[in-house]
Structures are given as structure tokens and as C-alpha cells.
Amino acid sequence: MKNLQKTYEVTQKVERLFEVTVTQTDFWEAVLYISTQTEFNTLSQIACADWIEEEHFLLTYILTTDARDKNLMLKLTLGREYESMPSVMTLFPQAEVMERDLHEMYGIGFEGNETLYDFVLEQWHDLPPLRREFDTLAFVHEHFAFKGGREDNKDVKVEQKRRREEAKKQKALEAAKQEAKKQETEKQETEKPKEPNTHATDAEETQDKKPDTKEAEDGQ
């Protein structure tokens, strides 16, 4: 750790996780130095993130110690135009498969790695799939057909709005109907004095109401 801090600017990200940033040209020197002179002597992952707005890949070599208690992120940026990197296979044999993976997913070349052929994709002729400009949804619609029944799978917010408005309309209609009925009944009540016949009108009213409320529920 002391060796590392002497030569490189080390920032601590969280507990037991450190970060060193280098440029593409002095990467090989840095990885050689770190893997031989400091305690971070094992490679545990090569991560790559595509920052298409800034037009570069951010490669992160995650190195770890023999005691497996600390991790170091060795970062560098790499151009997006199918550039290549020196392979670290000679230092870490496990890098072979990771580089193979990155080559397939991003199109990054690794000089010195002989096994950069198909890894998980077979007879793939499109863009490397993890690059940001590869549109997986367009690819899906071009190559696959969906079963019927997905047509109602619209944008949720638009659909919600439409249904809410429909429900509002229904409610307004219902309210208007009820209003009309109330007026009618009031008229009847004013015309007729109270009679035992009112029970029947009540029942009629509820029968009329029921289908309306059902429709409103469907609308929601």
C-alpha cells in the first residue's frame, strides 16, 4: 500500500476499496508495477463501462490482494473506435477469458491474446451488443415476433390518463342521470302524498343504478 501511494495518487472510495487512474500510454507500466511491487497482485475482474456521451470506454481492472481483504480499481479511458489494449494475460492467466468477453461485447482488441474468437455469441454479425449504440429493442422487433395480446401493452401513463378521463366522463353521465331521476322522484313526491308504494320505486332505482356503477368500475 505504501509503495503504491508513493508512486500513484490513490483515492479511497469506500472502506477497503481504492482507486488509481492512469492514462492509456502508461497503463502497462502501472499494471506491471502494481502486480509485482505492491500487495495487489491478483486480478479479479476487468469491468468496462461505455460512456458514449464522453466518447470513451472506462476500463476498470479490479485487483485484489493475496489476503483478499482490499480491492483496487485501476482505471483508464479508451477510445470507442475499436481501439486495442495490451493484454495482461502474461501477468494474470485468468485475464484471457475476461478479455475474450470484453472483445465480444464491446469490440475492444487485446494485443497478445490469441483466443479472441466467439465467446458466448454464435455467428453474430451485428454490432457488439453491449455498446450503447446497439439498440436491443430494435433488434428484437426485427428478428422476433410476439404473440398477440401484447397490443394493449401501451405506455402506462398515457393509458392511465385515458382511463381516468373515461371514468370521469362516466361519473359525470351518472351524476346527470341521478340528478334527472331525483328531480323526477321529487316531482312525483310533490304530486303524490306518501304511500306504501315507495318501496317499489326504491327497488327500481337500485336496479337502474347497478349497471351504471359496473361500467364505471370497468372504466377504471
Binding site: H103, G107, L116, Y117, T136, A145, F146, R150
Partner: protein
Amino acid sequence: MQKGFVAYNNEQKSLEAETEGIKNSQTLIQKAMNWFSARSMFVVAYGTGCGAIEMPPVFTSRYDIERLGVVGVATPRQADIMIVSGYCSLKTLRRVIRTYEQMSEPKYVIALGSCTINGGMYWDSYNTIKKLEEYIGVDMYVAGCMPRPEALIEGFVKLQESIRNNTIQPGYVKYREDYAYYQANQEKLLGKETQPVYEEDYAGMNLS
């Protein structure tokens, strides 16, 4: 498996009523053949997707599907059933088609999981197929992600019922009769080489 084990719902009944004609037209030998093939189902050992994790429980002592006459078998040439257990990536689909074509008739396919029906959770993935029935004949779908072992067993029981009563047109008959349709779909997706090609020469694949 006996009557009463599966409660038929109305839908199933209406389906059967439609195919009443087929059912009655089968000869005695056909009836016997169907009865036998419903009673002994050999499942090819190919766990194509994550549904394969529910197969060991189904085949061992907790759920013990052997009581229904379902046994695992190593090679496709001896098998009657293939369980396509979940999503099929393009690379797997080539192997699935090859395995399916190696199986001898009568053969049936059970598709396990929502992803074989309509893409399921991976509906926007570039590497998994969305509808299995476009590429091989499928006899039974078991929905779910992942389907419980009971669901898989019910799928088997329903398949056995329909084989015994001859109520559905088996997928392999469709595959044989409409081979042009299936082949066109396969070639559209996988190119001319719908079977896996194992080659040493990977030259030209290097992008850098």
C-alpha cells in the same frame, strides 16, 4: 392420473367436444398405442434454461414423478419428451432443434416457463427467442417464472390425458406436415445453418 386427479374445467371440456370426431375415429391399435405411450414417458436430459433447477426435485423423492411413468433418459434417441425448460438463446435453439430432430416419433415437447410462451422476463433481450412454437412443435405450455413442480406435474398429467384420449394434434405431426413453415422460421432467425457448426477456424471474427 386416474379420473378425478385432474379436475377438468369447462374450457377443457369444450376443447374435447370439438375433437370428439378424432377421438372416436381411432382404431383399437391406435388406442392401445396411445395408452402405452401415455403410460411411459422418457424425458431427455437436457436442461436448456433455468427451469432445469426444478427438475431434480420433480424427479426425486419429494414430488417423485416416476409414479406417473415419467423417467429421465440420457439420449434423445430413446426419449419421448423434451422439456424446454425456459428461455432458449439462439445458440441453444440450434441444439434444441438438433435434439428434437434426433428424437424418434411419437415425441412431445413441454415448454416450461413464461419465456417460452412470449419472451417473459427477457422480452427485450437480443439473444433469446420469444415464441418457441415458431421453431419446433410444442404440445404443452407450463406458465410461470419459475413454474412450481406441481405445475410441471400437472402439465405432464394433462399431456398424458390428451395423448390417451387423442384430443390434440401432436406437435410432431404439425412439424412433419408443416415442415416448410418451421424451416423458414428457423432459417430466418439462424441463417442457413440451423444446426450447430463446430469449426476450428474463427478467422475473420476479429473486429480489431
